[in-house]
Symmetry: C2
Subunit: 209 residues, 2 copies
């Protein structure tokens, strides 16, 4: 599980604020996660997520002190943008990015929990579908949902996915899953904190694309 | 039809060489064509084509004199790359770009020729499908073909497509189609010349994605 373990997320402080610089450094390692899915079909997703990260970084770079935490970014933009907000700026980018992060979290958690299709134990479609249903489906119109269903058929076998997560090394499934569990601790806490912030600041939208 | 008419392709010289600079200037106006299809689902296509153009431009910019025509680029790369060629560099980018250009050409030609589904005269699915079958299908595996079929359902009505091509102005279908026919003269000649060059230089590949 070196792909994710090499870049663990940091522990959150008690106030659950998320340090922008550390966050951007850690999420930068996630777009390659989509390469682990093994098909070029997932490139548009990878580039959507990379675009979110670039957008947030470009706001941060304008004034690193002012935007030291993700909360400060979203609050500043709320002040700055008026009625356009929250469908704007880094607030919008993070709104979507967190859904991709949640997708990854639920997928990994489901695998670590041993959830599987007993008839096809080497497929991960049930895990991907669970992650999609909980993290993304409601934000997608019927067309994108249909495209998702088609793309799902390109999902890799569990054994290939684990190998890719482990950067090509053959590791035992249990060893990989132990690392996944370790990774998920701070990662899940960070994603949860971002979701809470969007609720607290009334920054969440539920339009679908 | 101002979107395309504002940026007509130039007439080819007798040797059918394609001037790189003029070509790049003219194709730069084509990615917005995919916005005329009206759905965000087509963004990955737009960005694939934009990527091809950027790749060709970056090669050209290295030595505009040496790469004055598209033929010179492909021939130089054939010399430079050895066995990697032609799945490399601007040769690969233009190989795919020309398929997108052919797709647009066949779609517009089919509309200008008045081909339609008599039962649904305001749909352009028959025209899109014809363009896809002739220009792209054989280069797509079953999965991308399946995704195409889903995406086709997001195709706009003919009247909306014509309005978008005309930059939001309400023009009569015949007037728009007269402009399309005008545009297609040099455009088709250019696309044909690029295809011929790929055949002549043995630069064509038929792997599918
Ligand atoms: C020849 C045939 C061609 C046919 C072409 C068909 C192409 C089909 C394209 C499918 C869609 C690709 C996924 C991208 C979807 C995106 O539309 C959405 C919204 O994207 C957001 O939109 C905002 C504006 O509303 C801003 O622009 C955001 O940008 S901003 O930074 O500017 O603010 C942007 O992220 N993101 C999403 O839904 C996020 C997706 C995360 C995905 C997570 C994993 C799913 C894994 C699935 C595994 C099976
Ligand atoms: C949450 C759910 C998410 C699910 C995600 C699903 C996403 C589905 C993505 C669908 C594919 C999008 C289209 C892109 C396809 C591309 O894969 C291909 C080959 O692309 C080429 O590949 C080369 C290497 O082999 C180089 O990288 C080229 O790049 S290089 O410049 O580096 O050399 C590159 O263009 N281009 C193509 O097939 C060209 C496509 C032209 C399209 C023309 C119009 C079709 C219109 C259809 C209208 C109905």
């Amino acid at each position: 599980m070196s792909l994710l373990m090499d870049n663990q997320f940091g522990e959150l402080p008690v106030d659950k604020s998320v340090d922008t610089k550390f966050f951007l450094e850690s999420v930068a390692y996630l777009p390659p996660f989509f390469d682990c899915l093994g098909s070029k079909v997932f490139l548009p997703i990878k580039s959507d997520i990379s675009g979110n990260i670039t957008k947030i970084r470009s706001v941060y770079d304008k004034d690193p002190a002012k935007y030291a935490t993700l909360q400060q970014i979203v609050e500043s933009e709320k002040e700055a943008y008026g009625t356009e907000w929250p469908k704007v700026g880094a607030t919008l980018a993070l709104m979507w990015l967190k859904r991709g992060l949640r997708f990854i979290q639920i997928l990994l958690q489901s695998l670590a929990d041993g959830e599987k299709d007993e008839n096809n134990p080497n497929l991960i479609r049930v895990n991907i579908t669970k992650a999609y249903d909980q993290a993304l489906k409601k934000y997608h119109g019927w067309l994108v949902q249909k495209i998702f269903k088609a793309a799902l058929l390109a999902a890799p076998y569990k054994s290939d996915f684990i190998k890719a997560l482990s950067k090509g090394q053959e590791v035992r499934e249990e060893d990989c899953m132990a690392s996944v569990r370790q990774f998920l601790i701070n990662y899940t806490a960070t994603v949860d904190a971002i979701y809470e912030m969007y609720t607290t600041l009334n920054a969440e939208l539920d339009y679908s694309v």
